[in-house]
Structures are given as C-alpha cells and as structure tokens.
C-alpha cells in the first residue's frame, strides 16, 4: 500500500474525585479512612506552610518565595505513592512534596530566607537539592534511574517539573533517553497552566502535555491534578511499573497556580480575575473536604483541629528557623570542593 497509517494513539485522562466531592468507586484506589485523613492533613500542612511563607516574605523575614497553593493535591497525592528508597528530583515549587516526605519545614523556610544550608536535607531522604534552572533536573533523574538499574535496586526515580519545563531541550533529551533505555523513572509534570506570564497555549501547540511521551515511546497520562485520588492512583501505578522494570511513565497533573508566580510577581498584569476565581472553586483541599464530609469524616470542628495542628507545626518551624545563627563567611566555601584549592583555602581564612 502506498499510503498507510503507521501510528495512532490515545491519551488517557484520569479523574476520580469530582468538584462536588463524589468519587468514581470503580477507579478509587484502595486507601483506608486513616490514610485519606493523613493525605488531608498533609495538604492542609502544605497550604499552611505556603500561607506562612508568604506572610513572612511580606514582613521581610523571608526572601522571594514561589507559592504552591492550588497544587497541594498534585504534590501530596504523588508524594504519598513514593517509597522511602525512591529518589526524588524536585523543581523549586515542590514544598508540598518535600513536607509530605518528611523534609523539615524549618529547613525549607531557612532555604527561602536565602540560606543555602536549608538544602542539606536529612540523610534518610533521597531528595536532590531543589532545582532553580527550569527543567535541568530531568536528565539527572534519568541518570539516577540508569544507576539504580545498574545496581539492580528495585527503586523508582521521580522527576518533578512544570509545564514551562516541557519546552526545554533537557526535557526532550531526558524523555528520549528514558524511552530508549526503558528506565525506572516517573516524570511528574504539574501543569499549572502558567510559566510566569506565559499561558499554556503559548507554551505548546500540543493538545495535551501527556501525549509528548508517546513520541519517545512510553505512555503519558493526564490526570486531574486537583484530585488527590487520581494523582495518587496514577503515581502509584507508574511507580510500581517502574520498580518492576517495565519502563518510564509521564504523568501530567492538570492543576492551577492560584497565586502569583512568586512573591516578586504580579499575576494581575497578565491573567484575569475570572480565571483565578474559577479555579478557586476547584480548590483541591475543599474538594477533598466535601468527600470527607459526605463520608462523615469531616466537620467544621475537625477541620479547625487539623488546621490548628498544622499552624502549630509551622509556628514551631518558624521559631526553630529564626533561632538559627546566620551563616559565617567561611560557609561560602562549603562544598565548593571536597578539598579546597590552596587559593580557596587562603580566601576562606579571610582575605
């Protein structure tokens, strides 16, 4: 035949929990009430951290800070599927992931005051330093996956990034290599629909981000990123698949950046209040509350208690962070090299 279709594909979209808090029982992952309660607490903690960080920034007690509000389901849902032995390569807007995995809130705050000692995470966590250069962490995750397989370690590697990162060469090169080597890596994109002032439609002409994986020979799925159950379910499956040696998966979490890009940005310059308000009605935390209420697992009172506990944790973290003595000049050289050059050693002594 001179002309034939040689490839066609479908891209799945997964949603389990709707705006009203109803779930599709057939798709619901197995989660106990206790586990769902912990997810809810983690989302509230992430939101509370965010609110406090912004307040501290406004008071001059924190540097420029990138808000996560609106992305709690994508971050907490995926983090819940991650095992302690997995490796994580975050971008800079992953505070909900870090907190859920047990990264100390005080250290995260410390980092955002402009103190790089906050990047020294606890030994027990395999979380790479957060990455500011958009997309550049993605190939590194592929390399860690290559090494894990070389060592026959049954772990998965997770790379987090935003919609803007999908325009970087690093994204495409990493995807290609992960596909060629069928690596145990899960790519999680939080498509919050904005990259600073650039809306998704100016970032890509593609109908979804998920389908970009198809071109590299592995599946991509779009999930409702404000649905913690859908995110968890997709991440769980992708991670199990990766650990079992069946190759990479790309998960696009369709969500929304409810706040400015960072505390240094004014999103009012480039997007409409109507759009923001629409997405506020889809707040992932409120959505989960509706589900919990229908199940008899949430009330005004229990909600207040969860919030109070979160505030308590963050209060303590702020106190701890502010008690840390500022770094000494010699800190400039920490980790510059395992052994400083003679000139660096001189400079460190106080030039």
């Amino acid at each position: 035949m001179p002309q034939d279709i040689i490839a066609s594909f479908e891209v799945l979209r997964l949603g389990i929990l709707d705006d009203n808090g109803n779930i599709d029982e057939t798709l619901m992952p197995s989660l106990s009430d206790l586990e769902i309660g912990r997810m809810y607490e983690a989302m509230v903690l992430a939101r509370t951290f965010d609110e406090r960080a912004v307040a501290l920034q406004r008071e001059g007690r924190l540097g420029t800070y990138p808000q996560i509000s609106g992305q709690e389901a994508a971050q907490v849902g995926s983090a819940f599927a991650i095992a302690a032995t997995d490796w994580i390569f975050p971008s800079f807007r992953e505070m909900g992931v870090q907190l859920t995995l047990g990264y100390p809130a005080a250290q995260l705050l410390q980092y955002w005051t402009g103190d790089e000692r906050g990047q020294l995470g606890p030994q027990r966590l395999n979380i790479f330093p957060l990455c500011v250069a958009v997309g550049s962490q993605i190939p590194q995750a592929v390399g860690a996956a290559l090494a894990a397989r070389y060592r026959r370690d049954p772990i998965a590697v997770v790379a987090y990034f935003g919609d803007g990162a999908t325009s970087k060469g690093d994204f495409h090169e990493a995807f290609n290599m992960a596909g060629v080597f069928r690596l145990p890596v899960v790519f999680i994109c939080q498509n919050n629909q904005w990259a600073i002032s650039v809306p998704l439609k100016n970032q890509t002409a593609s109908a979804s981000l998920a389908q970009k994986a198809i071109g590299y020979g592995f599946p991509g799925i779009q999930v409702d990123g404000n649905d913690v159950f859908a995110v968890y379910s997709a991440a769980r499956q992708a991670l199990d698949k990766a650990r079992s040696g069946a190759g990479p998966t790309f998960i696009e979490c369709l969500t929304y950046r409810m706040a400015d890009h960072t505390t240094a940005d004014d999103a009012g310059r480039y997007r409409s209040p109507e759009e923001v308000n629409l997405w506020r009605t889809r707040d992932p935390i409120v959505r989960l509350q509706r589900f919990l209420t229908a199940r008899g697992l949430w009330s005004e009172q229990s909600g207040k208690e969860v919030k109070a506990r979160a505030i308590g944790i963050i209060d303590a973290a702020v106190q701890e962070m502010e008690a840390i003595a500022p770094p000494a000049a010699a800190e400039l050289f920490t980790g510059t090299r395992k052994t400083l050059s003679p000139r660096q050693a001189e400079q460190r002594k106080g030039r």
Partner: protein, 320 residues
C-alpha cells in the same frame, strides 16, 4: 532632558530603535505581555505588536538559535535571556554558532544579534539569578561583551550594540537597574563599543571596574587621588585607555564581582604586565569575589568586593 533610571533608559533605547528600524524584533520569556520580569520591555508589545515583541516558550536554546536564523535572514533580533544564569543551555548556539557564523561562512552570513540579559549580584534573588560569569563569554573571539554602568551609558551602548554588525552580549547589572538616575537625552547618541571612559580623573593610582562595581569603586576612592576607568566594553576592552592611565599613575587595581581565578582581571593584569611593566611602581592588585559559587542573600555581603577591600587595595599599592 529627563532623569531616567537604567530600566527606563534601556526601554527608551529599544523603543527608539524599533521606531527607526523595522528589522528590530524582540524575543524572550515574559518580554511581551508582562513587559519583562524587570519591566525593561514594558509597553513595547502594546506599541509595536506581538509580532515584534515575541513571548517565547521557555526555551533558551531555541531563543538563541532562532535569533541567529533571524539575524542571518536580515532582521536585527534582540534576544532576552531572563537571567545570565539561565544562558547555559543556549551556550552552544551562542559560542558555536552566533560568534562563528561570519567566520564559518567566510563572510557570506553574519549575525547582528544583541543578547540582553540581567547580570550580577546584590538583589536578594534566588539561586542563579545573580551570576557574573562575564569572563566565560570574553573567551569567545567572535562575540562582543558590553556592560553599562548607569542609565546614560546603558542607552548609548545599547544603541551602538543594536547597530553593530556582529553579535553582542549586553549584560545589564541588576543592582543598578533602579539605583541610579541620570540625565538621558532623548533621541540618538551612540557610545562606541570598545571604548572605556575615565569616570574620575586622578594621578596616583588607576582603578579599573565595570558594571555595578563602578558605583562602589567611585564611592570607595573618594579620599584618594585615584583615576577610575569604567571599562564599558569587556571584549574587546580598551587597552589603550588602560595603558595610558597606568603609565601615568604607575599603579593599578582591578575590581570585579566575579570569582578571582580566570576572571577578566587576570587578562587586564597580564596586558598591563606585557605592555607597561616598566611604568609600574607597585604590583597590580585584584579585588574580586572569592572562588566560590555566587551565594544566596545571607552570605552575599561576604561575597561581593566591599568598600573596605577596595580601599585596602588602593592603600596597599600607594605604599610603594
């Protein structure tokens, strides 16, 4: 004449040149609708349309590579890299292509491209937003590297860069964006690339600086008989201006905010040693950042050359 800050001066230069020459097209991340994260391109998309002020996807390599194609085709692209620290993925396009196109095509194609990027430290921004890696780019023979030190020089140098037949990396010191105001004439004036300026006349010592360090040097040497040279173009730098001054004073101090080892100070000091050794009365000193990565806010005061360090170096060479 209006008192403008550097953001306004650069904005004015871009606007006037776009008015004059329809080949000038701006492209970069957030340069259009948002007017740039520092508002340097504010209002230009409204004035000239989305075809001339392009909000690109988040793709530094494609921004640089596309700008090369546009330039070779006959346009005058101005590519913005949002911060110097994000230029690295575009380095191949810049170093292997933009700076070599004329040479590789033996003159058939050229690349009249201006790459504008905020640079330098002292604004309490996140990691990679305060880099000063200028010397990396000064090692590329086909590229010019320009650093203004205030609103007046920013406009005149940018206009000259926009008229230049070859690629120019135009580094905008972020600390100065809103720090200084100067008289900036409306309309055209060009400051020739490759020409330094004597920012302050003096007889006892020559202090060479550029960008945001110039402001600090001028404050620091008020009590000394120091001649201060504002380099303005880093490659090709104004050897003649440096040597003329050093031959007169017999002493030289070079101040830059980039790390010491292989910083541009080394090139300047070597040139002085080669060409003016016999005029020197003291060793040539450098006041620079240490050989450490550019830190975040809490360590920044230990990183950037301080007034005390500049004064100590000047006092030191004056002992001879």
């Amino acid at each position: 004449m209006a008192q403008l800050n550097m953001v306004q001066a650069i904005n004015q230069a871009l606007g006037e040149e776009m008015e004059r020459d329809d080949r000038v097209v701006l492209l970069g991340e957030d340069v259009g609708r948002d007017g740039g994260v520092f508002r340097v391109t504010e209002g230009l998309q409204e004035r000239f349309g989305a075809e001339r002020v392009l909000d690109t996807p988040l793709s530094e390599s494609a921004i640089m590579g596309a700008a090369i194609g546009m330039a070779a085709y006959g346009l005058r692209p101005v590519a913005e890299i949002q911060f110097l620290g994000f230029i690295y993925s575009a380095f191949e396009q810049l170093a292997a292509h933009a700076a070599r196109l004329r040479s590789r095509s033996r003159g058939r194609y050229s690349c009249p491209l201006v790459v504008r990027t905020p640079y330098g430290a002292g604004i309490k921004a996140p990691e990679l937003h305060e880099e000063s890696a200028e010397s990396i780019f000064c090692q590329i023979p086909g590229l010019k590297v320009v650093v203004p030190s205030g609103p007046y020089s920013a406009k005149g140098l940018l206009l000259a860069s926009l008229r230049d037949p070859d690629p120019v990396l135009f580094l905008e010191p972020t600390r100065l964006y809103r720090l200084l105001r100067e008289e900036v004439p409306e309309g055209e004036y060009l400051l020739e690339l490759g020409r330094a300026k004597v920012a302050r006349a003096g007889k006892a010592v020559t202090v060479i600086a550029w960008g945001s360090m110039l402001e600090r040097v001028l404050k620091s040497v008020a009590a000394y008989d120091a001649e201060v040279i504002d380099l303005l173009t880093l490659n090709p730098f104004d050897v003649e201006a440096v040597l003329t001054s050093v031959k007169k004073t017999g002493r030289a101090v070079i101040v830059h905010e980039a790390a010491k080892t292989c910083g541009l100070g080394a090139e300047i000091a070597a040139t002085i040693a080669e060409e003016a050794m016999l005029y020197l009365r003291a060793p040539v000193l450098r006041v620079t950042a240490p050989d450490a990565p550019v830190p975040l806010a809490k360590l920044m005061d230990y990183y950037l050359p301080s007034t005390q360090q500049i004064q100590a170096a000047v006092a030191e060479v004056l002992k001879y």
